[in-house]
Symmetry: C2
Subunit: 284 residues, 2 copies
């Protein structure tokens, strides 16, 4: 059955959106719709311009034998800014300050809608890097990693913080928790990550930097190359990690347990996004 | 700027896909595109038929003052079957049997592409139920819960299994782990879940049923109504839970640590899906 252009466009739009950052050969659509390559190219052109007008992303066409199309979700600077402002506004509502200076984030992390937006923003910063896996630490980093990895079209690798890992040979490292100053352990099964992988480390919170340092140490054991680090929020000082090295969407400070108040301000994500685009342009 | 029909269709398709199970007033599109309601209705009709032809889902139009469109992802029985067969094939590859009769699932759970498919299947079974939250237990249930909740457009609530919960007042219950026969604890912050919520419980594995029973006990403390339970795989017998009550995509049995072999067969998900559709038809 032959489809009309308008129908093909709906189906192709869905397929591209479902497969971000993946090369789809033109022949896939040519065969699927039983249409000439020229018609399919015109369809794609319409989708491409609509995606641009609507700030959905780029549809990149590669010609040649290995040619095809790649959909790359792209956030405009304005959309990125809006996402961060929305995040800041949510952080300001309710009584989020918990005992010990912790900030209540579970409702935000549990909201797929918000997480997908924040993940899209982080993915945008790193999507032109070669990345084999998004690595995080259980349990609150998982939704963040998942949202980022869905856009990058890469697997998530989850480091555990308990010793209940039932996955064969494991590698464990100790780290000093930045907040409690206690020595803790993180552990990853050997088969979870190929040696020499390029990884993006993500977590919900950076508070002293102990967990992130632990993750980096563990990555060394896997001879992995850390391509980037990203967190939703950083808190206090970043300890022993240079803040130019990682992305944080917001910064929390002046946490006052007595009044229940704290300060939230924009992090360095927009700058990181602009920097990533400049690097991309230089390479083109 | 007025957009052509083909462009509007691309943009509306994207918007609907990004907002599953959410009522979008027609006026949203009327205002956005500065078009007559009749034109927008025609656009939606094209999207609706294309989604049907391609088995993407239903676009339901509600008329009246509170009218609008809802996109509901719908899996055909064939697509559901394909997803389960793909899952079974992945389970059969590699050496997945670990010491203690555990099955290695981390690579599957870490793959957003596979998880989104499995989540779509589970969501399809429960999307006509009234659900306030998808509840899971850290850490491997999280990606499953996330994939399901994204489709249902509902929040995820994560029960922890350690005592490092820094979220104010918590409720804890003890449960007997089905596999280790040890008494363990699960814990949830009071503010994470509203009393009287309707919840869908999900986890990666059901192995003796201890964790699921623990989750149900914990839900009682929150006066929550358990609308359904779903796991990716069940193993051995399901212990003290009636298997008619929950959904499992596959069943693992005959686990032989000596040969490293085990049996994988289809679970009850397809039946549950068919049953859910029958109930829906009866209610219409």
């Amino acid at each position: 059955m032959k489809h009309k252009r308008s129908e093909r466009i709906v189906m192709m739009t869905e397929y591209l959106l479902k497969n971000p950052n993946k090369l789809i050969p033109l022949t896939y659509f040519v065969n699927k719709f039983n249409q000439a390559k020229s018609s399919i190219s015109e369809d794609i052109y319409i989708i491409k311009t609509s995606f641009q007008d609507e700030n959905i992303g780029n549809v990149i066409t590669l010609s040649g034998v290995n040619g095809g199309v790649i959909f790359q979700p792209v956030l405009s600077d304005m959309s990125a800014k809006e996402i961060i402002l929305e995040f800041i506004n949510i952080l300001k509502e309710n009584n989020r300050l918990l005992a010990g200076g912790y900030i209540y984030l579970s409702d935000i992390i549990g909201n797929p809608n918000i997480m997908n937006k924040l993940g899209l923003l982080i993915a945008n910063i790193y999507q032109n890097n070669e990345i084999d896996a998004v690595v995080t630490v259980a349990s609150k980093g998982i939704p963040v990693a998942y949202a980022v990895a869905s856009v990058l079209n890469k697997p998530v690798v989850i480091i555990r913080r308990d010793n209940k890992v039932t996955e064969g040979t494991t590698v464990a490292v100790n780290f000093v928790s930045g907040s409690t100053r206690k020595i803790e352990t993180m552990i990853l099964a050997k088969r979870s990550l190929k040696e020499g992988s390029k990884v993006l480390l993500v977590d919900d919170f950076l508070r002293g930097g102990g967990v992130m340092t632990g993750m980096r140490t563990l990555m060394q054991e896997f001879k992995a190359e850390v391509v980037g680090m990203a967190v939703l929020a950083e808190c206090f000082d970043s300890g022993n990690i240079d803040s130019a090295e990682y992305t944080y969407l917001v910064r929390l400070s002046d946490i006052n347990e007595f009044t229940g108040k704290f300060k939230v301000e924009e992090g360095n994500a927009i700058n990181q996004l602009i920097k990533a685009r400049e690097v991309k342009l230089e390479n083109e």
